[in-house]
Symmetry: C2
Subunit: 150 residues, 2 copies
Amino acid sequence: MITTPDYRALLETAITEARQGLAEGGIPIGAALYHNDGRLLGCGHNRRIQEDDPSIHGETDAFRKAGRQRGYRNTIMVTTLAPCWYCSGLVRQFNIGTVVVGESVSFAGGIDWLRDNGVKVIDLNDAGCIEMMGRYIAENPDVWNEDIGE
Amino acid sequence: MITTPDYRALLETAITEARQGLAEGGIPIGAALYHNDGRLLGCGHNRRIQEDDPSIHGETDAFRKAGRQRGYRNTIMVTTLAPCWYCSGLVRQFNIGTVVVGESVSFAGGIDWLRDNGVKVIDLNDAGCIEMMGRYIAENPDVWNEDIGE
């Protein structure tokens, strides 16, 4: 029997990470890397501010926490916000099969490019994610622009 | 007076990093982020093996070591090997103005895509870089394929 993962349940892990980041004074973007079979491989959140590290986006943190994997075709990257080019490039290079985004209203990133390159992208258009990110961007435009290189 | 950076001199920093990685038992890819004015902002090398960390490519390590910068338009990412999609995405997202690659024979990565998106890409086609990477790939095909997600 083939079952479809409960993407909204997986998104909860990413949302928890995003909230943790916000509680730390950081940018509220969280992510989780799951295997298709439901196993959580790694999760993390943006820590630009907390660690003065511009390389730690939610997705790269989740990828890192998952350690060395021999193949990502059967994995799902779940993130509260559509991945930027940096994180989209990560998905494409490592052939991550599926990307689930909480929202792409605040930022669309590279999701069309990923779809064009064969990645399955599911946009949950989650109201809570939109509200959390929208509020952060409105209140912290400088940090947000720094995080996306603008 | 506008002077052109000595790209071969900048490449030496990346090569030194790659050799350091090789000496540590790692994949010999090094990188350095320079300001156009000649200042070295950060340098690093691939540490997948040394730290069991798949997120540390040469370019992402150099970017990280440079810390938080307010804009990258006037920076040069120098790397011994053409950047993969992950690192090409980094360059595009943060609007790094120039990319200098030691070679693109062993791996072409995303350099055409970067050029199409307005990044100045200089390929030095360096024989030493080609030899170093070619030898490593021939002797360690499994590690190399893991590093590029194949």
